[in-house]
């Protein structure tokens, strides 16, 4: 994965720190974050490696990695970091940066999930799970996968049980402040950078 000669982007760390006080530069590589992380088994870079690569200015590698998306935001790393590096928050910052730069997400379902969720919030002001879940399944291609692997019956059975137990309301509870909510969510398009 590493080139023989790294060409550092000397301003990458600065750019990150300008977006928020993540204190990445304070990392002394004790790896406590990685040792406590519950999802390292699904990561291509360990959390401490992501921080290291931010410090040495390797935006291409960190903005394209699975790790920033697979991170479950459980906050164990941030909680335990002896140097107060905001590791989980840094993962968010990198995800947002990757999206704004138009980098193809290596975990497309995860991005589709977030995107579908926010669209639903924009529509109603609150999340209406009854439409959010099928929208996600269709948009992400997950429904197609369930269909192809023949596991859709299990999911339909669960959905049926949930409906019978009245856990999928028929009508959304919308709010009168929808416009304010839309304004908050639309503003993002006008923001060039998360800084």
């Amino acid at each position: 994965m590493f080139q023989k000669t790294l060409t550092p982007d000397y301003h990458f760390l600065e750019q990150i720190e300008a977006a928020g006080p993540y204190l990445a530069g304070a990392c002394y590589q004790c790896r406590k974050c990685t040792n406590g992380c519950p999802v390292t088994f699904a990561m291509d870079l360990y959390p401490d490696e992501v921080i290291r690569l931010v410090i040495i200015g390797q935006p291409q590698t960190v903005l394209n990695c699975d790790t920033i998306w697979v991170c479950a935001a459980c906050e164990t790393c941030t909680t335990r970091c002896p140097n107060d590096v905001k590791i989980a928050e840094l993962m968010d910052c990198l995800k947002e940066m990757a999206v704004q730069k138009g980098i193809a997400c290596p975990q497309p379902q995860i991005l589709t999930l977030h995107d579908t969720f926010l669209k639903n919030v924009k529509k109603w002001g609150r999340v209406f799970e009854t439409t959010f879940l099928p929208q996600y399944l269709l948009r992400s291609g997950e429904f197609l996968r369930l269909w192809q692997t023949g596991t859709w019956r299990d999911e339909m059975k669960l959905a049926w049980q949930m409906s019978r137990k009245r856990r999928f309301p028929v009508l959304p509870k919308t709010i009168s402040g929808k416009k304010e909510v839309r304004k908050i969510l639309d503003r993002h398009k006008k923001r060039s950078n998360p800084s």
Binding site: A72, T78, E96, V99, H114, F117, R167, I184, L185
Partner: protein, 288 residues
């Protein structure tokens, strides 16, 4: 007493059981819930992942609406919402708040995670006084998940590595809360939709440990944890090549059961993994 209440979106939908049990037990504990008028979604994982500022501002809008109510305390049953509201309150009170298009009104109520609120000494006394059916013989592990406790800078908790709120409530009800090491290990949350394989791995580990320490059931305070642990138990057991049959109770449902609050049966019927068999076996459920 009267308090401000922020239920959050899932309590209006898939977590109806949690919502109804909260309303039920608060009435029995004489806590009047006043819902924030016109509250909106906190933005949850989606917003903080790809639109940080919207995450803060969405929660900020709700906080400003909450500030208009006269009550000193605000109860938030969903740990995700709790975490996002606390984060917004924290960030919008910093010097860097001018990065956001949102200003906080001065008089915010104290934001409480529901379990921590009900585990305070005066509340525990109130709960103990109302018990008509002690949950004797029930052995559970309390599972807290992530968001009610981490990061402590935001949540303002001190026992974040080994929280006690649910354990204290469960013991007050007469049940046994078995100590275990996985109280705050992540369940994978919304990845149940985007990466179910990750959730199977994480939740399977929880079942496995709960089984090893001899728990009969798992008690939670988070509807995301409840959904992940309750809804896919059979499938995860198959992935792990094991047999798991843990009822996953909300702590509020068990308070309701111990206090014989009307509606317990309706709440529990909404679960996917059978919550009744264990209670019958322990003589804690004598309805058919």
């Amino acid at each position: 007493m009267k308090v401000t209440y922020y239920p959050g979106c899932s309590l209006e939908g898939t977590a109806k059981d949690y919502a109804e049990s909260i309303v039920g037990i608060c009435a029995s504990l004489n806590i009047q819930l006043e819902e924030i008028p016109d509250w909106n979604c906190c933005g949850a994982t989606a917003a903080h992942s790809i639109d940080h500022r919207a995450g803060i501002e969405l929660a900020g809008r709700t906080l400003n609406l909450a500030a208009r109510l006269p009550h000193a305390d605000m109860l938030v049953p969903c740990p995700m919402c709790f975490n996002r509201l606390k984060t917004a309150a924290w960030i919008l009170n910093q010097d860097s708040a001018d990065r956001y298009d949102m200003h906080l009104d001065a008089s915010l109520p104290k934001i409480w995670d529901l379990a921590n609120f009900l585990a305070s000494d005066p509340m525990l006394k109130k709960i103990a006084k109302n018990i008509s059916r002690p949950l004797e013989g029930l052995k559970v592990v309390c599972y807290y998940g992530c968001m009610a406790n981490r990061p402590p800078e935001i949540t303002e908790t001190t026992d974040f590595e080994n929280p006690q709120a649910l354990d204290r409530i469960i013991q007050t009800l007469g049940a046994a809360a078995i100590p275990w090491a996985y109280k705050t290990d992540c369940c994978g949350a919304s990845q149940v939709l985007s990466r179910p394989d990750i959730v199977s791995h994480l939740v399977g580990k929880l079942y496995d440990m709960a089984q090893r320490v001899g728990a009969q059931a798992i008690v939670v305070s988070c509807q995301m944890c409840q959904a992940n642990l309750d809804m896919h138990q059979e499938k995860i057991a198959t992935d792990w090549g094991k047999r798991f049959a843990f009822p996953v109770y909300y702590f509020t449902e068990l308070i309701g059961l111990a206090q014989d609050v009307a509606g317990v049966e309706r709440w529990l019927r909404r679960h996917i993994t059978d919550p009744f068999a264990l209670l019958k076996q322990l003589n804690l459920w004598n309805r058919p």
